[in-house]
Symmetry: C4
Subunit: 322 residues, 4 copies
């Protein structure tokens, strides 16, 4: 029997997309994502002077409406957060829970999204700097992307190796800019006037961007530059190789994790004769979806485990149960 929910609980459910509110929560998400994207596009386009003048009113209207909606969203989330599964579990008063929510990264991003505009409305400022800061609204999208979190995981997993790659890059960068500075400074004092200035060339070369606005012109400088372009291939290859290896590893681990879960489910039920019940199947299906594995692969893993188990149920030699 379902107990009656308070309005606050319903709204918390709506934001979390749990239970009955899965569908409504999804619609709300799509609406908010659309609003954020319209905002980002509008701010980008507004930076074109002629467009900004012509559609001044439309942009102002959109800004006022958006900030109003985001502000309401911010307040409602703050109000309802105490009924969210995560915060409801925290002991203490609702004020403490709300404070905790206020300081969470997502809440801070939400605040940053409305703050520049509120400042502009409250004070008679119209700084381009503040206007552009509104673009940070794009970070509000992080709340909705799960695949992105998986990608970022790969960066975290290879953290120490990527840091080492970054360190190698920094050493090569310093030596490259120092070398080219020594060689080219006298010939092109305006372009290689100091080591930091030479770093602009070294950076563009080592990342294979290669703008070409600054290039060595002496034969020795070109020889040195050629060696650095060769090193750039290694610089680019290291992070790419690390990520490729990390992505492969992630895939393997997820598959392994699923197989272990299947194994547990299969060998856990000792009563029936080697098939999975509905609850177990649902549990594995949920897991499969969460890990992003294909149905075919999952079914094969389950079948393999069931076969193995059944071959253990009956002795291979005599055909009887041991």
């Amino acid at each position: 029997m379902k107990k009656t929910l308070t309005l606050r609980q319903r709204i918390a459910g709506l934001f979390e997309g749990t239970g009955d509110y899965q569908r409504a929560g999804h619609i709300l998400d799509v609406a908010l994502i659309s609003l954020i994207m319209i905002n980002v596009v509008a701010i980008v386009i507004e930076s074109i002077a002629s467009v900004a003048q012509q559609y001044y009113d439309a942009f102002l209207m959109l800004e006022i409406i958006s900030v109003a909606i985001f502000a309401i969203e911010y307040c409602v989330r703050l109000w309802a957060c105490v009924d969210k599964t995560k915060y409801a579990a925290i002991e203490g008063s609702n004020t403490k829970r709300r404070l905790k929510y206020l300081l969470s990264p997502l809440a801070i991003i939400d605040l940053i999204a409305i703050l520049p505009s509120l400042l502009m409305f409250l004070f008679p400022l119209d700084l381009r700097f503040l206007r552009v800061l509104r673009l940070l609204r794009v970070f509000k999208l992080t709340r909705y992307s799960r695949a992105m979190q998986l990608l970022l995981q790969a960066f975290v997993n290879e953290g120490s190796a990527l840091f080492a790659a970054f360190f190698i890059m920094a050493v090569v960068l310093i030596l490259a800019s120092c070398g080219v500075y020594l060689i080219e400074h006298d010939v092109q004092p305006d372009k290689f006037e100091s080591i930091p200035a030479a770093m602009w060339w070294a950076m563009a070369t080592l990342t294979t961007v290669g703008y070409g606005d600054v290039v060595p012109i002496t034969p020795l400088g070109k020889l040195f530059g050629g060696v650095i372009t060769l090193l750039s291939m290694g610089m680019v290859a290291i992070p790419t190789g690390l990520l490729a290896s990390s992505f492969s590893e992630q895939l393997r681990k997820r598959r392994q994790f699923f197989e272990d879960a299947v194994n547990e489910q299969v060998h856990g039920n000792t009563i029936n004769d080697g098939s999975l019940n509905d609850e177990q199947r649902n549990h594995l299906e949920d897991l499969r979806h969460k890990l992003g594995l294909s149905k075919l692969e999952a079914n094969k893993a389950i079948k393999a485990q069931l076969n193995e188990r059944n071959s253990h149920l009956f002795c291979r030699n005599c055909g009887k149960r041991p």
Copy 2:
């Protein structure tokens, strides 16, 4: 005994390259591929003004002949499609089948390939726009490439991860162009006049293309630009790593799929004493070819499964059949 085929059935077989028409179908394919390629090369060369004037007649002749052939091909395919295996299975009248074929992607590509020229012949237009549109004929080649479909599969498999990579890229792109716009707008108002204009620089930098037509010139702009060039290495590494991982995974899956098929064939025949009959060998050979595995690898997988099976046929302990 072979039943007599109608002309339409023969032509459908020719286009499908099935049965007796394998060889003739292959020749037809090669002829059509050659014609498409000649067309593409001709349209590209025709855009050189001097060449177009000098060989006006030759290009016109080629165009008329090609469009005629493509138009005939289109009509014949439409007429014969009702006898193709895929469409013959659809219930309903031939009109319904032809309508279904008309709306299939390949038929639409075929139509696009002749439409611009037909419009130019019918109406007294000679627009460069329409002339160039004829280049879409290159898509007619997709019908013939299977390896390309496998490559595209990798993109589809990594769809959500690639979309997340694209999303990260978009966020970094927006922040990069917004940052460089703030820093460089006052110094280079012609090059960084708005955020969309700054995106041109950000795009060229984050993809490591690096044209160099627009570059930051202030020290702060160069520092910021340097950080963005570093981020570009990550931007390039993500899709490369994802595809590398996906290609490895595809290889592994195909090998696994083949081993499962071998397993089924080997353990399916319970009567004979552990060898494969000709039909089974042919079936596995077909599969091996389709999955693009090497003969050596396939033979090893078959041998391993046969050995395993034979070791099960006879008890390891007592040497007798269990």
Copy 3:
């Protein structure tokens, strides 16, 4: 007992580096590699006008000596080839064998290496074209590199996939140059005067080289160009991903191949009680070296197979031999 070898047999052995001539053959190889490299460096430096004038005599002397040595090498190889293991096995007269050798790729490369100079000595020509052609001598080095052949193998293995990637690239290239031609032709008729001219931009962009000598300048052209720079990341990612996957696969196959060889050696000797004799160990060591596996890895594979075999020699249940 060793039979006395003829001079021709000794020289063939020297070139093949077999038996007693392993050491002498190695020295000969190093000497020839050094000569080729000195030649390549000399030809490159000779193209600098001032250097060519100043050291005219030295370059001429080097050229004459080198061509003489290469010509002698060519003749001696042709004369001795009939005693090489590979050609000795061919039936027929020595003339037939020599003709076969003459048409082998390596012999053709050797001929190309001396031909331009011979032509220049014989006829009173001094064409820059012919002088530069001498650089093809660098191909003589292919004879000595085995790791390079392994690398090229990866390209061959992924042949069809790389061809498909090339095909996708070609289609994108045509559409990109066609699109930018339509958009930019009227504004920059000198840079985008025809589709082939626009291809120069498309090529530099899709490979992320990005010279920047030709860039779109209209807003629409920059938007289109931005999309193409994004596609360039995919274009670069495909071959890299394919090769990364192929290299991993090669490693796996070589390891598998070694394990199979160990397996055969271990299960082949049924008499002794589960250890390898010296001959078998030498055979596996040779194989390990050829496949480029580490000693640690090889020893582990051998140990694992021996353990497995020994566990089969004695029944797991009763401890007796079955």
Copy 4:
């Protein structure tokens, strides 16, 4: 019972960070790393003429203090090295050990870090060349990075393949510069004046850096250049693919190595009934940390081995110990 240590032994322990000095050694490391980094940043900034003049005294002070510290560090390390685990094991007098340490790579790097400044202090020289050489201090950081050593290991493992890739690159580079020299020399004699000059273009193109300061302008040159840009994709793909494959392989080997160690520990203790004692757990935990594996993964490997062992302890058929 702990024996009393001499001052020299304590200092050796401090530098090695062993035993009681783990914490103090860590603080010393962080202090020295910070000093090195401050030095590098200072030398880079000092190359800006205006900054160097304004803060002349500050830079001089920092330099004197740093060189003093590095000199003291150098002497103390030299004095205490005889008590380091590695050098204490060497037979002979302390002088011999110190000489051995003096010639070790790390000691040479330490010497190079102070030598340029000592030369400048001793002799009345103020050469920019010597000032910049002080940047080699950055190499002192190699002592502290272990992840970097793992990265460099991948380069060593793929040594022969990377060398082959380098060789292919060199051949393509020579042919590309030779080709573009032949085609463009007459039209742009200032930019493609010799093959070494043409190499500058070929280098920038094959590594996809693409400065654009030198580009072919003839149609034939652009066609040839287009082919070279295509080849550049392969040139970049080879080292990236090799490293990606090598990183994957390293991961696999480390996992395998850990599993083997677990196997040994598990099957080594025959007395107890299949669990690991504290000493064994600590040993494996150390190993896990050294190999950089996750706790989850390590626990799973241990559990799997214990299960396997326990299933062997008791007969699968009869439930009794065999």
